[in-house]
């Protein structure tokens, strides 16, 4: 039996998207409608909420568990309590990210955003095609402002640490 962190639920509940954890009654409607839970036993939204409520922080935050959700928000419309599992997922992902638990694909998008203002950039052939079609230029006019914002919010540090 691992050591429980009894403050875990409160920590999650105190984040902007984590409040729904306080409303969870463990009914399981989230799991029954979840398209990922249908495909893999690794992901079970009701169980994830239970682990947060009981304080299994070490078993959640540094692991793959925060990163199975599609954010399709099916559970948000199904939860009878307004418990928002799909929202709570963002709360635990933010905690995971601060501990360096960020999937490579997500880290790459965050880095690209910081360096170019965009998470995906056109390859050379797409740029040439844009020009030949007379479509607007892809600019980085907002770069200075984006970087100032991300420094101020602290996200720049998370990006650089990856």
């Amino acid at each position: 039996m691992s050591e429980l962190d009894l403050g875990f639920m409160g920590e999650v509940a105190n984040t902007p998207r984590g409040r729904g954890i306080l409303l969870c009654i463990q009914c399981g409607r989230c799991s029954s409608g979840c398209p990922v839970a249908r495909l893999t036993g690794e992901h079970n939204p009701r169980r994830l909420m239970e682990m947060i409520i009981l304080g299994f922080k070490k078993e959640v935050i540094p692991t793959q568990l925060p990163w199975y959700c599609l954010s399709c928000f099916t559970c948000l419309d199904r939860c009878p309590q307004g418990g928002d599992v799909g929202e709570v997922t963002f709360a635990i992902r933010n905690l995971a990210a601060r501990q360096g638990n960020i999937p490579a694909g997500v880290a790459a998008q965050a880095k690209s955003l910081y360096e170019t203002t965009r998470v995906i950039n056109p390859i050379r052939s797409a740029l040439e095609k844009r020009e030949s079609l007379g479509l607007g230029k892809i600019t980085m006019d907002g770069l200075e402002e984006v970087q100032k914002i991300l420094k101020r919010t602290g996200m720049e540090k998370i990006i650089q640490s990856k």
Binding site: P16, L70, S71, F73, L76, R118, T139, T153
Partner: protein
């Protein structure tokens, strides 16, 4: 007296479409003015801060989305998005900020560093909102010169056009709107199981295997309903269901051969404007057989 709507929007393109789905962008730029909608590009806009970015840091999401909303406020125009991710991000932040003066104060402290202030003066709409709510189904219908009669399609409005209800006001509203627009072109929107299910796209680059498995479930249901093609509005759904079929072929050795088109392409063909060769080729699953002489 009928009010004439001022159909002029700040056009928020996002990242994915101008990088990888130029055919979507071109069709929107060609079709919308024909329907009386004026689109003004947003200069200096940044990424909307989609779910990947929201996963890393909440405050950055709010501030980055709010910066885009400030640009639209400066233009004095409501925002029109194409991508469901952009739509959900900007719509959620706009809704949160309009509801909470406290959050607005917080974000404005961050934005003051770049000389901006969110005031809550604009609304965020999606292409479907604009076509259904502003242009209207009857006007779309009257613009159809060459009806897409007889074509059976499954529609994929995508999750973030429709969920959650509290942001989109009605349960799965976007489904009905897109279906009505598809029917206006003459095509038939066929009901299928798992219609409200996600395309799998949000797990692309996080867990590719699971993303493919979700898409596969969706494609199986579409195939069971015997549709001839799929109509999307979201660039991620398009990518996941079109390119995704090639990936599924590689990993599961299954072929679905379901052509996928954006709604605006369907509308464009119905209006009698042919797609160009490079646009036809932008679809990984060939669309030539179902659209033949329209291309």
């Amino acid at each position: 007296m009928k009010m004439v709507k001022n159909m002029k929007y700040a056009f928020y393109l996002g990242c994915l479409i101008p990088a990888r789905e130029l055919s979507y962008e071109v069709s929107v730029r060609r079709v919308m003015p024909e329907l009386g909608v004026e689109l003004v590009d947003m200069k200096g806009a940044n990424c909307c801060a989609p779910f990947s970015i929201q996963s890393v840091d909440h405050a950055s999401w709010i501030a980055l989305a709010a910066r885009n909303l400030c640009l639209a406020e400066e233009m004095g125009l409501d925002v029109m998005t194409l991508c469901n991710d952009c739509y959900e991000s900007l719509l959620m932040v706009n809704t949160l900020l309009k509801r909470s003066p406290e959050l607005r104060d917080q974000v404005n402290q961050v934005l003051s560093e770049v000389g901006k202030e969110y005031k809550g003066k604009v609304d965020v709409k999606n292409l479907v909102d604009v076509l259904y709510g502003d242009v209207g189904v009857s006007k779309v219908k009257s613009a159809i010169k060459e009806p897409i009669d007889g074509l059976k399609v499954g529609t994929q409005p995508g999750c973030h056009l429709t969920k959650p209800k509290r942001i989109h006001f009605e349960l799965l509203r976007g489904f009905n709107e897109l279906d009505a627009l598809v029917q206006a072109t003459g095509a038939e929107s066929v009901p299928y199981e798992r219609k409200e299910m996600c395309c799998g796209g949000p797990l692309r680059d996080i867990n590719d295997d699971l993303a493919r498995q979700v898409s596969r479930q969706k494609l199986m249901a579409l195939k069971d309903a015997e549709v001839q093609g799929v109509v999307t509005v979201c660039p991620f759904c398009f990518l996941q269901l079109d390119l995704g079929q090639l990936e599924i072929k590689r990993h599961f050795n299954e072929e679905y051969n379901l052509p996928v088109v954006h709604f605006i392409e369907l509308l464009r063909m119905g209006m009698g404007m042919k797609l160009e060769d490079w646009e036809v080729k932008a679809h990984k699953i060939p669309i030539t057989e179902i659209f033949k002489e329209r291309l």
